[in-house]
Amino acid sequence: MTDRKLSVAAAINEALHIAMQTDPDVILLGEDVAGGGARDGDDVDEMGGVLGVTKGLVKAFPDRVLDTPISEMGIIGTAVGAAATGLRPVAELMFMDFLGTCLDPLLNQAAKLRYMFGGKARVPLTVRTVSGAGMQAAAQHSQSLYWITTGIPGLKTVIPSNPADAKGLLLSAIRDDNPVIFCEPKTVLYASGPVPEGDYEVPFGKAKIVREGSDVSLIAFGATVRVALQAAERLAADGTSAEVLDLRSLQPLDEEAILTTLAKTGSVVIVDEATPRCGIASDVAALCVDQGFDHLNTPVKRVTAPHCPVPFAKVLEDAYMPSAERVIAAVAELS
């Protein structure tokens, strides 16, 4: 490993630089991904995206970083068409909530072209999108909607919990010949951690044990990995040994890793930032019961957001989001 520490945002920026350097077909498009910087010969500097994640890229690749109008249906639809015909676009959907304004090109086009065309199309598209709560951004800028994209056959969905995975997963996403939704959880975006130098990929469908334990398995991904680790730390102080599995990739899903940790501990708590119905937590719980039943010593527990929109007030938002306290309470219910 390396001592070099970067934020997730910086790791993503580095991955984009590498992807664009190594493949001339990679283009970046989205609202303000340059951000004013395209004013040629001007003293005006660029913002590099609303959160500054893509800063510097338009200077390095002026022809391949495209500021778009505020036209998500157009952006994502165009990216799908470009992907199907020879480019390898990375489209930015500023916040995942805006999925509502561009679902068709993902749901009915990107996800299905290859299948409908009898295997004759490929859509090497990456959609980067900021997901999740934690910034008091309220109901329309805080949702975790990866359960929607995960549920659509033909799309892949990945979600990093740390900078090293963010970089490697993004490079894999861009080089994958399928449409990939790359989620950037808000509370993870500025978390810093070691990031290897150079070009490397983190393969899809490979979960990672981020803490070993023997009494209970906490299954988490994205923003909830930190929550699960906090809970594990406190559980350890009380004599309960929790293992924490970071899924990293929701589709494909590492079923083997889930069933392995389940077999080891006999108890599973799934921690998911999204709403509870039809979600990843329910999906993983079903897998545990369906295929891991013989190893289960306790019921399978889910810690999720409640079935309601994301509230604005900080006290309500804090109560909305899964917390270490709620994970510990769920573990307590097992015994």
Partner: protein
């Protein structure tokens, strides 16, 4: 259009309140007292106030992420708005909505909106209600130049023109969508031109001039009320502050911003015009300034003292509860 002295006093009061409200919010965010995403309306006061000065309370407006000005202009109470921004139980939306979702159905304010362009079809729907239920109401959609690149804009205008709905589309062209200059992403010179695709009336107003906006809005609203269908009203304006609080503004020219701020301030323009026409005295305006300042200070103090929402509120209002 007739503007009585009382109308002018109210208009000035609203414009001053918007300006001070936004300046206060900027301070409060920088002092770490407010969270969330805040987009401020300072500089664009003449648009919201010019248009709303011509509306009735039962008329409906839809707004944007930059919604505080539209709320104040439509008569939403400032103490409730301030409490909402503080995330308090006494807020206009019980602290559940925040800046991007302030709404007050009782005042015909169908919401700020976090989704760019989403208010446009909502106003179109409000106009459909007005038409089919013959309420005589008019709907107004406020939105930015950036939003006019959304499909929701084009689909709505087409429908409203086909159905001749009583709606006014007010595009606030402030020259930027976030950090991208409008001319980079809008190929027509004036957004008003887009009305022609829908055989719709259009008009361009000086969005820094309350009187020009009010005059042109008044005509469009009267036409809508008379059953003569929709208008696209483009107001040329400028935002004096960043896209959001904390925006370092590297992407726009300082001289350009200075010019608008120094020479085109809608409040100063209003003051000049009322003096020239002998409509209101400077003394009267200063009294209003003082009133507004006190009202705002009281709203902040009350919001800071107000109770937080109870955790039970998390699960209320998700559905209409049927007894």
């Amino acid at each position: 259009m007739e503007l009585k002295p009382d109308d002018l006093r109210l208009a000035y009061r609203h414009m001053r309140m918007i300006r001070l409200f936004e300046e206060k919010l900027s301070d409060l965010v920088q002092a770490g007292k407010l969270g969330g995403f805040l987009h401020l309306y300072a500089g664009e006061e003449a648009v919201a106030v010019g248009v709303c000065s011509q509306l009735q309370e039962t008329d409906v407006v839809t707004s944007t992420h930059r919604g505080h000005g539209h709320c104040i202009a439509k008569g939403v109470e400032v103490p409730g708005m301030m409490a909402e921004l503080f995330g308090r139980a006494t807020g206009t939306c019980k602290g559940k909505g925040g800046s991007m979702h302030i709404a007050d159905m009782d005042k015909g304010m169908l919401g700020a909106n976090g989704i760019v362009g989403a208010g446009i079809p909502l106003a179109t729907g409000a106009a459909l209600t007005a038409k089919l239920k013959r309420t005589g109401n008019v709907a107004v959609a406020f939105f930015g130049d950036g939003a006019s690149n959304q499909g929701q804009f084009h689909e709505s205008l087409n429908m409203a023109a086909n159905w001749q709905l009583p709606v006014v589309y007010v595009v606030e062209n402030n020259g930027f969508g976030e950090f991208t200059p409008t001319e980079f992403v809008v190929p027509v010179r004036d957004i008003a031109e887009r009305a022609r695709s829908y055989a719709m009336r259009s008009e361009i107003a000086d969005g820094m001039d309350f009187f020009d906006v009010a005059e042109k809005a008044s005509k469009a609203i009267a036409a809508a009320r008379a059953g003569e269908g929709p208008t696209l009203l483009e107001c040329k304006t400028y935002r004096f502050m960043g896209h959001f609080v904390g925006d370092p503004l590297p992407y726009r020219h300082k001289e350009e911003a200075e010019d608008w701020i120094q020479n085109r301030d809608p409040l100063q323009g209003f003051e000049r015009t009322v003096a020239e026409r002998g409509l209101l005295s400077a003394g009267e305006l200063r009294v209003i300034d003082g009133d507004v300042e006190r009202e705002l200070a009281a709203a902040v103090a009350a919001a800071e003292e107000a109770p937080l929402p109870s955790i039970d509120e998390l699960l209320t209002d998700v559905y209409v509860e049927t007894a």
